[in-house]
Symmetry: C2
Subunit: 290 residues, 2 copies
């Protein structure tokens, strides 16, 4: 289950990838500033990416470039998948009532804190709002990876890694395995952590694991139209569902070409003035590797 709202906001990070998406051309290359440089091709529209490759524990400082795309950004909201009126996670739907006693809330800064919170006027409990984790699997099989074509909105008909909200009471690995079963009817084993990608504007953090099939079987679950293995050259970059998946797949390709998988931490900051539907309109800030 992957339902997302990814809205636009300011890019405040001090460290950035430089992405430049050039649609409707016929070849693709990834120019890596240092030390790697390689090129590859895709069947989809061309993308020209400036991906900075750096040693472990070192961050990039490339300036962002405005990207161009016509793809729709995804929507996700842990409390509802239908609202499109939320413009920032920090201002997400006002909490007007206490979940536990039903009392009306006031919005004040509690003693000893610095931020305004929703405080129950009856029982005094504070309703904190925290980011949500989305967990998923990048499944390797026969030098290909498994993608699911979405059978639900948002991003109906677009491709994604199997992923969804982490449930209370389960670990991220368990959640990623569960989501993979739900969306791709695939039994997988998690192999290693691969990426953590925060999207602060919408209060989401993506945790992606490298995984492998326990059995060579998969089929679309109710939320998928189709599940298919793609070679790296055939990944449908022109019809991906989410920025998080676009980043994940590019980092994965970069690592594979470089000969070793790393763990990537990064913040996806949507760029001001760009459409919520543009999954390429962002900077990847704070990119750190282990």
């Amino acid at each position: 289950m992957l339902k997302a709202i990814q809205f636009l906001g300011s890019s405040s990070g001090f460290v950035a990838y430089r992405w430049n998406w050039i649609p409707h051309s016929t070849s693709c290359f990834i120019s890596v500033s240092n030390p790697l440089s390689y090129s590859t091709s895709t069947k989809g529209p061309t993308r020209k990416l400036l991906l900075s490759s750096f040693s472990s524990r070192k961050a990039t400082s490339l300036r962002p470039i405005r990207a161009q795309s016509t793809r729709s950004e995804s929507k996700m909201d842990g409390t509802s998948s239908s609202s499109a009126t939320v413009h920032s996670a920090a201002n997400a739907r006002k909490i007007n009532f206490c979940q536990w006693c039903g009392g009306a809330t006031k919005h004040e800064i509690p003693d000893g804190e610095e931020k305004t919170r929703a405080i129950c006027t009856i029982c005094g409990k504070i309703a904190y709002q925290n980011p949500k984790m989305v967990v998923g699997c990048l499944i390797e099989h026969d030098n290909k990876i498994l993608l699911c074509k979405r059978n639900i909105q948002p991003s109906y008909g677009l491709w994604t890694l199997p992923a969804g909200y982490l449930e209370i009471g389960e670990s991220a690995a368990e959640g990623a395995i569960r989501e993979t079963w739900e969306e791709a009817r695939a039994e997988v084993e998690v192999v290693s952590p691969f990426a953590q990608l925060d999207i602060p504007l919408i209060g989401q953090t993506y945790i992606i694991f490298i995984a492998k099939l326990k059995k060579p079987h998969f089929s679309p679950g109710p939320e998928s139209l189709e599940c298919r293995l793609f070679s790296l050259d055939d990944i449908p970059f022109d019809s991906l569902a989410f920025s998080s998946m676009f980043v994940t797949l590019n980092l994965y390709i970069e690592d594979v070409k470089g000969g070793s998988l790393k763990f990537h931490y990064g913040t996806i900051n949507k760029r001001p003035g760009t459409s919520p539907s543009d999954i390429h309109a962002y900077t990847l800030d704070y990119h750190l590797q282990s």
Copy 2:
């Protein structure tokens, strides 16, 4: 701000570290099953640990050993820091009312889902409960690390890495930097991701970054009694505040001794029948490295 409830539950993972805590002895060694083996000493009570060290993308399968400790487990609850009646995050305080319209909730399985949720009987919105992220820094300075002695409950007077709940609208790195300032009045730069440790029973995920001081200054914030740099041999393992910090610091020592820092993913599963106050009564499951 680090407020935690870490309660006991079942260990369901298939992969486990084996920890054996022996208090009140005078020497400490960490026996590593494969391939590393080394010993070190601490000034605190002796601990004998069986730490499994394995190559990247490989997991352990050691059986858990019951640990002994008299230390109090920490408490954390995103909605309140005062309740000690919560025994499982999955059964955490019932949601009785809708936060948005104030309507009474019913607890049913929504169409297309598999789990019981709190559904508003008036507006129909579903109140999902998701795990919360705790973010913090492991700060390296002059071959020492920075710890804070807690000035608040739970775990008053015990030592911890600066850490606290990730706020909506910020990235994990930003949150870790903020928490470090709040608790240790230290300006830090995050250097690399170091660990993700899930504690499913209480609905928490710890994200710890390696960081360094921008300036060699720090002092206790309001939530700390004291902040101090410790050499690895002097880390107060006998008076740590949380299981998550105990695991993080041991993994860090293991990596330092091995010559390189890795990224660690793992699940801290509290063992049934042990006290909530025992920070050593757990198994570390699904331990994976990148």
